[in-house]
Amino acid sequence: MPAAAQAPEGGTVVAVENTKGPIKIAFLSFQNNPFWTPVTEGAKAANDYLSKFNATVDFVDLGDELSAEAVVAGIEGALAKNYSGIVVVPIFDGTARIINEATDEGVPVFNIIAEGAAPSKRLAFIGQDATSAGKQIGEYIARKMNGNGKLGVITGYFGATQHTQRMNGALGFLKANHPDIEIVGPFENKDKAESAYSLVQDMMTANPDLSMVYVTAGGPFGAAKAVKDLGLSGKVGVVGFDHTPDNMQYLKTGEMVGLLDQAPYQQALDSSVMLYNYLVAGTEPRSKIIPVAGKLLTPEDVQ
């Protein structure tokens, strides 16, 4: 089967020949906003690619509410269904135990996108380290603000690990290296764009000299829309995460000045293929943590 000597499009890993017989991989992920669309598509591409190797990747939807319990229930279900291996978006600290349980049962687990801080026996993790992503954005903010001015911070949920790490990654860097940048907030928008809109309105009232807003999680485009409606395009910029159409639109009009992504399509595709390789040939992934450098899009990139 000379099918593929090269990696599938959008991916970086090549599948080895299947000598083991049929392989069933469960791909557990959520779906509640456009961020997940490329993840789903990546899983589908992996299925298409690996089907040539007598392997399937079943996309299992964990629903629209992100919680550790949903991940645990999903893995338990996949174990009950005798999958050979699992790709999962574990996100939360609390998922380590069930991942260990699966691994101990001989079902390897590949973590993608985000995992909890608690160590687990997962095969590997591919994804973006939230703290360094925060730092990456922090550096960009400092550059845009020329090292001084006021920065408003809006975070998704207080206490959500990924949001907190992204926030602290940036704020830690700024405090250490650019003490002249004054921080306003943080405020919680519960991932809601309309809440980000109101928060920016109020922040601008109390801090007319605000020059930048950093949204760590959901709804950055709401902040951009507020900037636009206040007539402050060009004076105040918004930075945030994910290249969703909503966000991209304001990158074009200039209210959004920076958008970092997590290469979700590639994460989904590569992880599935690496897990397949491990299952048939025992090939370990190239390291336990495979960092994905986010691509930082700026208005210049879309012009």
Partner: protein, 318 residues
Amino acid sequence: MNQSLSFIRDLGKHREASVLAMLAAVAIYLSFASDYFLEPRNLLNVGRQASVVAIVALGQALVIIARGIDLSVGSVIGLSAVVGAVLMRDTGSETIGLVGGLATGLACGVVNGLLYTRFRINPFIATLGTLSIARGIALLMTGGIPVPFGGFAEFVGAGRIHNIPVSFLLMIVLAIIVHIFAVRTVTGREIYAIGDNPKASRLAGVNIHYIRLFVFALCGLLAGLGGLILAGNLASADPNLGMGYELDVIAAVILGGTALSGGRGSIIGVIIGALLMALLNNAFVLLGISAYWQVVTKGLVIIFAVGLDGLQRRGDDD
């Protein structure tokens, strides 16, 4: 007893009085603590921020006064916005989009009403069900991807007339209409009657099925409007729009002195409740209250706002 004292006593009889007092207290405190608070622009922002919750709460208040509850409003907001945006995108007609959005809200309300009146499903469960179904349909329609939504809806959501936010004006106008409706029309009075004593009202010849259907339909319609405003404000209709709004909306209604057991409540109270919640969020930003204390403060203010009333009303109930 002298005139002014009895006035205060009369005011005290209204359950919304203590929340109004809390609203005033927070406002007075803010006007000293922040230079920006009393700026017209800021006050209008607070009004705009309260408007969607308030508008949906108008409908919810009538539902609760009639002894129902509508948990689906958050999802109806999302579904109406999505339907409106998709119709506008696909037909190119703003009118069709707006009417379609409102009609969706109305339809959801009617379904809720029918589940209650025809199928005798407890409204808590019925609307919990439609909460899920409406959200699911919105997600299916869009594949989870937000739909751009502009034009007139954007004007309603984010526009201003003489610097006053349109959605705030809409809230005022609707509050007046619903207030007059509740207090002065036959249907309005019958809503209070069936909430107070459904059986007696039915025996007196009130068509309780019709009234229940009506309040749910109106609540759905207002949630639909809320969806259009919210999506218009962001110029984008996200299927997740309005998620979790039900609790905010019900909280505004109950804060405003409406009894969860039906029969009592005022529209003015609802507006006060919604304004108090918006004011709190404004206060957090203006005063720069530290992150986690925001969460604690919100709870404390809610409890105090109603606690004042409870202490005064000692021994009243049961």
